[in-house]
Amino acid sequence: MSGGLKHWFDPESAHTEGTTPDYRFSLANERTFLAWIRTGLALIAGGLACAQFLPPLPIARLREIIAIALLVLGGGVALRAVDHWARAERAMRLGVDLPRSRFPAILAIAVALGAVVLVGTVLYRMVT
């Protein structure tokens, strides 16, 4: 999240630099943003579902910890989505490479680790 902060407070600044790209590329960027928002919403829904539908887990408060972690992740994905959208829009206007990001890989690892924790918990419940 660097270099794009001024776009947060001055939305029109993204539309004065460089040249206007083909509208289809802008719309594709908008759809990518919406896809990330859906990812964030899915994580938020997962967090709420954890809190409401999981039985209390063997470790105290683990259910609430998982729920809060998913909610934080979902909110973070939403905020990061708008930042990435602004940077991609700016790159297209200036004709430079699209921004690269490690975020999808980090998100995938975080979700996979969470799944491993849950599988471990389910197995633990089965044995005890």
Partner: protein, 101 residues
């Protein structure tokens, strides 16, 4: 760009806004769920109202975006996009309140 758009980009984008609104509806309903429990109090009602208000705002933003997409060429939507992300993050905060209660 007045020629036929073979990729139907505006149409696909409009449908993407709609899909996202439907996902947000699921989140709002989950956040509002505790308000329907027998022991629900004002806190649960307030949270449900906030979640439904957030969802209504997201639906309104998608509706507001539609005419811009119908224009030729389609208008950019930096304000709608920022507002959408911020309201989504606010839904996450409302979800946090649901978990804490």
């Amino acid at each position: 760009m007045t020629a036929r758009d073979p990729g139907a980009s505006p149409e696909r984008t409009r449908l993407a806004w709609r899909r996202t609104g439907l996902s947000a509806a699921a989140v709002a309903l989950l956040a509002a769920r505790p308000a329907f429990h027998p022991g629900a109090g004002p806190a649960e009602w307030l949270i449900a109202a906030a979640a439904m208000g957030g969802w209504a705002a997201l639906a309104a933003l998608a509706l507001h975006r539609a005419p811009g997409l119908r224009a030729r060429p389609p208008h950019p939507a930096p304000r709608s996009i920022r507002a959408y992300a911020l309201i989504t993050a606010a839904l996450a905060v409302i979800g946090g309140l649901v978990v804490m209660l």
